[in-house]
């Protein structure tokens, strides 16, 4: 191999090796914390609001099966900025309700905050005066859940709920009633 080719190949290998090592090391905190990589995780909504500078909308009424406040708040800087509130169920320490809101621009939740469902049924429903899309589907783990998504001004709200769909619709309606 020529002198120049040797030099270029070594340079490429060293650069790529260090870049890969950095990227791998960068994934470690998310793995250890069990949080999505790239998103910033917070213990409370107040912390997330302080750090992102955005106001997070909260539900005014919740189904009794939801253990509130959320056990974790994840923020994805976007664009657009998206915030996910995660709450467990009261009877089981497992994610029961996820509320994702894109802030500034209505947008679908990023996959790292809310993994896409394998949709079984998609229908249009009303949430207050707004149109919403209700999706019945399977999570990657195989659990049956419902997603309800609707646009509210400059935000899109997406709720994922592992309980009865009637409770989800009531939650969304209560959520919407309090908004201007």
């Amino acid at each position: 191999m020529s002198n120049r080719a040797n030099a270029v190949l070594s340079w490429l290998l060293v650069t790529a090796g260090i870049a890969v090592a950095l990227k791998a090391a960068d994934r470690v905190p998310a793995l250890l914390a069990g949080a999505p990589h790239g998103a910033r995780s917070y213990q409370t909504v107040a912390e997330a609001e302080r750090d992102t500078g955005a106001r997070v909308w909260l539900p005014t009424a919740l189904p009794p099966s939801v253990d509130w406040p959320p056990f974790r708040v994840d923020a994805w800087p976007g664009p657009p900025l998206s915030v996910a509130l995660r709450a467990n169920g009261r009877s089981e320490p497992r994610e029961h309700l996820v509320i994702v809101q894109s802030i500034g621009v209505p947008a679908s939740p990023p996959a790292l905050l809310l993994e896409p469902l394998q949709a079984l049924l998609v229908t249009d429903v009303a949430v207050g005066a707004r149109r919403a899309v209700l999706t019945r589907g399977l999570e990657p783990g195989g659990r049956l859940v419902h997603d309800l998504a609707w646009d509210a001004g400059t935000r899109r709200l997406t709720l994922r709920y592992a309980g009865p769909v009637e409770e989800l619709l009531r939650l969304a309606a209560a959520f919407e009633r309090e908004r201007p």
Partner: protein, 323 residues
Amino acid sequence: MPLAFLSQSILHAVVAAVFVEALLRAWRIEDGAWRLRFRLLALTAPILWLPALWVVAPIRRSPVFVANWALFAGERWNQIELAGMGLGHFSLLAAAGLGSALFLRDALPPLLDAVRGATRPLASGPWHPTTAGLRSLVAARSSALAIPPPDVRLVDTPTPVLLCEGARDPVLVVSPPAIERLGPDELDAAITHELAHAKHRDPAWGYFLIAIRAALFFNPAAQWIARAMVDDIERRADQTAAAASGHPEALARAIEKLSEADHPPPLDGHASFERVFWRIRHEGLARRCARLRQAPGPGRVRASHALLAAAALGIFGLVFFVV
């Protein structure tokens, strides 16, 4: 100064140090002068490039850049808490402690020596027999290296001293035990080595490096790069002296003898870390002498400004995405 800046200073120095070390090994660059240039390039990452990026590219600090583009983001480590503190901040504190310890370990002894006045000059005018003998040797070797002969100063110490000092006007500092301990060919080679330091203005490099180390005292990677640069300065002087005197073996013997006298193995009662430091130093000297005794092998590639530019590009490309 924000913690993020200090954190990036350390991260950038780590990336640059590893990158340059890997390239030097991959390209098998053995020339001390070129190695020094590459190391200096690594040192510019925390000194010049980070402040420049901080001012010119504030987008690197935006949450969007951190989330989408960063190869490595120090702040992500704060998601994990250790004793009520984010792991990122904890690591920063530990790294700053390590950097300060490395700096103080090298900077304190000469400072204390200077304060205590550890060496005092001998009455060594031109009439002194040792000085006269040395002067003729220094004159001959200086001529071979194409430099004006520096002044020779004898100092009164019980340990062997043979060094070059003085940033503007280099002076050869010698103690009688150094002359007594070395054979004629070893003294010749050792003097040529010190004159090579004078030729390359290495004492000025020494002041420059200690100033950089003081400014980046918290940065262990920068401390490591600066120490590696000192090794490369020695390597360059070794290579210059070996080429000028033609006796690398004599230089290797002189280095071994002077080092043995100056840094004898610690006794059993000494703390274990002292033995570790001695061993590291001893192994470094052994490698240095082995290099002198070996015939210089062909590098895998020939060092050039193009390679230096490629290394600069690589460092810049990597550290831009390390936040």
